[in-house]
Amino acid sequence: MSALEENTVPVTRKVTRPAFHRRLTPVAIVYIALAALLVVGSVLVGLRGEVLLDQAGILNIFTRATALGLVAIGQTMAILTGSLDLSVAYLVGLTSLIAAETMGGRDGMIVPGVLLALVVAAGVGLVNGLVITVLKANAFIATLGVALILRGYLEDTYTGPAGDVPRGFQHLGYDRIGPVPVAALLMLAVAALSWWYLSRTRPGYHMYAVGGDIEVARLSVVPTRRTIVTAHVLCSVAAGLTGIYLASRLGSGAPYVGTDAGYDLESIAAVVLGGTLLAGGRGGVVGTIGGVFILATLDTIFDDLEVDPFFKDVVRGVVLVTAVALYARRMTANRARGRLT
């Protein structure tokens, strides 16, 4: 059919690059939004004759970002793999108690306390992962079930704070370099390590593959079960680190320290705000950290402005919905372009 050939396009034709503003990745948008928020916040707080980014303000933002950041890093891995973890909030409380009770005020027990908390966390992650892969339960339900089990245990066993963290270990929660807490730097180090893991190692590649399309991954002989279990173990270990950090700040363990802060939904919000697809397969830790800092900054601004807490939630909700709608628009725009080429 030679007549057809005139209308053919070479396979190798380059797709024209979209305009600059369309090329912005979600990660870039997050950090631009963060910068804009800092500017707007500074102005608003400045109108009241105060300074947003003074020593106390910076400290406040970093402190808020540390705990949420750790949980959200783990949540990023679960979500990228096409899963999600609703049990993190209770796990934070549980691990804070395990760490504080094992330490029992003794300096010598710091290392065993930390290790035990992490081992228990990893065990919970393993259960999550196995329930999802072997019993084939939907991740939402599986982790919700594990969350309920943890809640039952916590409610049955504890009535309030318990355990005692030795003074030496409280340095982790309170030491800082200038206005930046040491723990925040450690959180950022964990983030860097996770970034490396996700974007440079085979298991990391496989998380993107499983989250992107589990069938494709399976056909390409990616170990899908192992990948999902690994993601859940790492997610839970990250929650365990959060529990340990919070124990150090509180001086004891507290059963509801994770749920009071709403780390389950808050961490998912941070991940999605950071541009990771809730369905998995696209996104990363860098965006998540941006999302975490946006949420932390918002809270700090609201504190400075003494905003009604209910109004606070309204604004957070609006921010989240706007962000997701923005990403969704970009996705459909990309798809439409893909179809036309």
Binding site: M1, A3, L4, E5, E6, N7, T8, V9, P10, V11, T12, R13, K14, V15, R200, T201, R202, Y205, H206, Y208, A209, G212, D213, E215, V216, A217, L219, S220, V221, V222, G281, R282, N334, R335, G338, T341
Partner: protein
Amino acid sequence: MTSGIATNVRLTGITKSFLGVPVLRGVDLELRGGEVHAVMGENGAGKSTLLKVLAGVHRPDGGTIEVDGAEVSFAGPADAQRAGIAIIHQEFTLLPHRSVAENVYLGREPVRGMQVDRRRMVADTRELLDWLGEDGIDPTDAVSSLSVAQRQVVEIVKALSTDARVLGMDEPTAALADHEVELLYDLVRRLRERGIAILYVSHRMREVFDLSDRITVLKDGRFVTCAPTGELTSEDLVRHMVGRDLGEYYPDRAAPDDLGPVRLAVRGAGNDRVRDLNIEVRAGEIVGLAGLQGSGRSAVARAVFGVEPFTRGVVEVDGVAQRVTRPRTAVRLGIALVTEDRKGDGLALRQSVRDNTLLVRRAALSGARSRAKSDVKALLDMVTVVARGEHQEVRFLSGGNQQKVVLAKWLAVEPKVLVVDEPTRGIDVGAKRAVHELLRDLAKRGVAVLMISSELPELIGMSDRILVMHDGAPAGELPAGASEGAVMALATGHGVGDAA
């Protein structure tokens, strides 16, 4: 790396049963390096099973597989891969958000120390792309930025990256637009020149004749014949596949006194994608709409059905001017659209045959008309669906049966105007014939049918008139039985000239 060494694979007397039902009953197949070997047969003839036996997905119950003269046995796909055999599945197996190189080496990423050796991955992918002459695809491009044809190239590179010298392709053109098919041809020919043995499974007669060196025909799991392509005609092939002489391919056209009044009339209509349309379809008439991909064929269908409505001009149904601005209005007026993408737009795949059949009736009609005791069984019989029952999920049906369910869904609302877009894409010869007969049957009962198809023989065989689109506007109209050349001349904008 893939070298120029030719590989021969010989399958002898392959048998395979599933749950006691024989699917392959002694099939012989020989693949030679540098040769395209087509396998044809109706759905259920055993083509896919044969492909999976070759790929090590299924173990044959009997028979032997030899690679370069040595007998082998594959315990799994990995074994077949090691023997240099790779299969390109019908559905794409690519991750859109990942780069080309990441997709090519998915699951087999080269590592250096603890890290993925990205430099090597990109370099190796580039080498393979260059080897194929596809240097316009960059290994670091995201797959989502590539065209469908380019994705197919990536799919092929992915297969070649396992050092494959035998490549099985299952309906490789199913997802491609017309102009992309030509590109695939070119690619297949290049692979052949480089000594790759290709097993090409396709329903499309023309492709098989254009591309293959030899053709093997299967029927009901049996080997029927294997012959050099040059020694077969399409009539031979159909006879071998169906096991009977189909004789005349298409049902009789409408006689002049079969035609009733004009049911659908489009006058001077247009929108962003099409313009200056004047179409009349009479009761009892099948009007073919021809054109290249992107000529606006499907846009006409979508406009008539109110998905992307006309912004200018008049649409009349049974002589009354109507404003069709959304599908709901269209359905109420008696207009139905069988879309091009059966799985995407046509069916709720996880719902039952029954629910799909009643989908439109329940959704679009109100009151008594929707509750009217509907004889789903009669509808399904009419379109000759073969399913395990009304409650079987549609996704488990073959393509042909799925398409029949789509047709049943529209018949359930008794349309006056039926627009069908690629009604026989990807379905086997038998089902195709059933769909053709059904369309003609509907026309005889007074339905006005507007039919779009990329397969010119089908379009010409079925249509009482052919309207050809070019670049968003009508390029001309041809009578029944016009030649392919005449249609193509109009479709490519060469005017009527000598062709008509």
